[in-house]
């Protein structure tokens, strides 16, 4: 009896602690369990959010590359008045805070804004525009510096072998391909992880403009950890894959540059 009493008292004393720990750990473990089950059962909501994310960021990346690569090539290959200014601007905009982009784009696209008539606010198109603006300076500035790094010898070699000015340009860009690719991938990494701009202009509408990062922000706020965790895990995996690519490309570039000199 004495022992029982003692045990009872011990348990009684520690109950709050046990309860605290029990209830404290549970949601996290439970959250992970449900997150993995969402992932492994290929939950339709989860999938549609992932596909929208990839669609928005992928389209933005294509637009940013189509616009940014020629600017990078032009500033990397040609000297003209205002070139230094363009390069400084690009470098500044590389670190543009996404919420600032979101804010300005919101003001432009809101119903009373100058582009309000296009009714783009709270659509995936607005999100694509926002991410294109974020990705563009990265693609342009990094391809500029990749092209700049190509030895003048390459230009001279192609000229002496009979290349036209356009062919010289293509040759230099081909030589800079690894640097250009790293720029594009770095831009993808940035827009995939970004939340501020698309939250403002996309509005986080379920089934329409809700992407991985904005869902994580919202569901965490609401205390629904399982979807947030599942998306967090996938975002982490995607980011890992993107960075693996970046690493491999940069390594290839470095090895080949090392042989160069």
């Amino acid at each position: 009896m004495v022992i029982d009493d003692w045990l009872f008292e011990l348990l009684w004393d520690f109950t709050p602690l046990i309860l605290y720990h029990g209830f404290g750990m549970d949601p996290i473990i439970e959250g992970f369990r449900r997150a993995f089950s969402l992932i492994f059962t290929l939950d339709p909501e989860l999938l549609s959010i992932i596909f929208l994310s990839l669609g928005v960021s992928g389209t933005a990346l294509i637009i940013a590359t189509v616009l940014g690569l020629p600017i990078g090539a032009l500033t990397g290959l040609k000297r003209f008045p205002g070139r230094g200014l363009i390069i400084s601007l690009l470098n500044t905009f590389m670190g543009l805070p996404p919420v600032v982009v979101g804010l300005f784009l919101y003001l432009l696209l809101s119903r009373r804004g100058p582009l309000g008539f296009m009714a783009l606010l709270y659509t995936p198109s607005a999100m694509i525009i926002a991410q294109s603006i974020l990705a563009f300076p990265i693609v342009a500035a990094l391809s500029h510096s990749a092209i700049k790094k190509i030895e003048p010898l390459i230009k001279q070699a192609s000229l002496t072998l009979g290349a036209t000015p356009f062919q010289v340009m293509i040759t230099i860009m081909k030589e800079a391909r690894y640097g250009i690719m790293s720029g594009v991938i770095a831009a993808l990494g940035r827009v995939m992880a970004e939340v501020g701009a698309i939250l403002i202009v996309g509005g986080n509408i379920a089934g329409y403009t809700r992407v991985m990062t904005t869902t994580i922000a919202l569901e965490t706020d609401k205390g629904n950890f399982e979807l947030a965790l599942a998306l967090g895990i996938i975002l982490l995996m995607l980011s890992f894959i993107i960075n693996m690519f970046l690493y491999l490309i940069q390594k290839k570039g470095v090895v080949e540059t090392a042989i160069w000199t």
Binding site: E151, L153, I154, Q156, A157, S158, L159, T160, L161, G162, A163, T164, Q167, T171, K174, E175, E256, I259, W260
Partner: protein
């Protein structure tokens, strides 16, 4: 042999320091010209001007076909070539490096293969044709530079120090290539070097660069 180059009274300075002063010469017979001169005498400058990479400050650089002066356009540039002391290898295979001149001229695949294979055979790089050209040794790089220029069959071929920074064995290989080229081609080959013995081995005509002029030839 149709193409000739006549240089008349050219001047060239860098930062007000004259390098070429009233320099004239005519390349009008097929064969090998070797230009010798000490470091900094202006050989490379002269070559870059002849190869149309740079313009002289004064004087004329005229390519002739018969009695006609040719326009300095892409068509003319494609009839001559200049192999620079640093070759400027493209980051791709040996084969694709050698094929570059033909590819930009729009030559068809099978023809490219035939000509490139022949040129790589000529310089002894057939076994390396699928290797990345940036992994070649300096001697092999120089030989690839020669092959890459040969495939475009230039009528005038300038080689600026083709055997600089290359060991004895590769120097001999490169000299052999140049001697073989002389036997096979009926074009003008101009080589810059500061190795007198090498100059004598290769030259039909020996030119000396001194005080910004080509002062003697024999």
């Amino acid at each position: 042999m149709d193409l000739k180059l006549i240089i008349s009274n050219i001047y060239k300075s860098y930062d007000r320091k004259p390098v070429l002063k009233d320099c004239s010469f005519s390349f009008d017979r097929s064969g090998t010209y070797v230009l010798i001169g000490p470091n900094g005498s202006g050989k490379s400058t002269f070559f870059r001007i002849c190869g149309l990479l740079e313009d002289p400050d004064e004087g004329e650089v005229n390519y002739f076909s018969g009695v006609h002066i040719l326009k300095r356009d892409i068509e003319l540039r494609r009839r001559i070539t200049l192999l620079l002391p640093k070759v400027g290898i493209f980051n791709t295979t040996v084969f694709k490096n050698a094929a570059y001149g033909l590819r930009i001229r729009g030559t068809k695949g099978p023809k490219i293969k035939e000509k490139v294979d022949k040129a790589l055979e000529f310089v002894g790089l057939t076994h390396k044709k699928n290797q990345n050209a940036l992994t070649l040794s300096s001697g092999e790089t120089q030989r690839l530079g020669i092959a890459r220029a040969m495939v475009i069959e230039p009528e005038i071929f300038f080689l600026d120090e083709p055997a600089a920074s290359v060991d004895q064995e590769n120097t001999e290989i490169i000299e052999d290539i140049i001697l073989k080229m002389k036997k096979e081609e009926r074009s003008i080959v101009v080589i810059a070097t500061h190795d007198m013995a090498q100059a004598k081995r290769l030259a039909d005509w020996l030119l000396l660069m001194k005080d910004g002029k080509i002062i003697s030839s024999w």
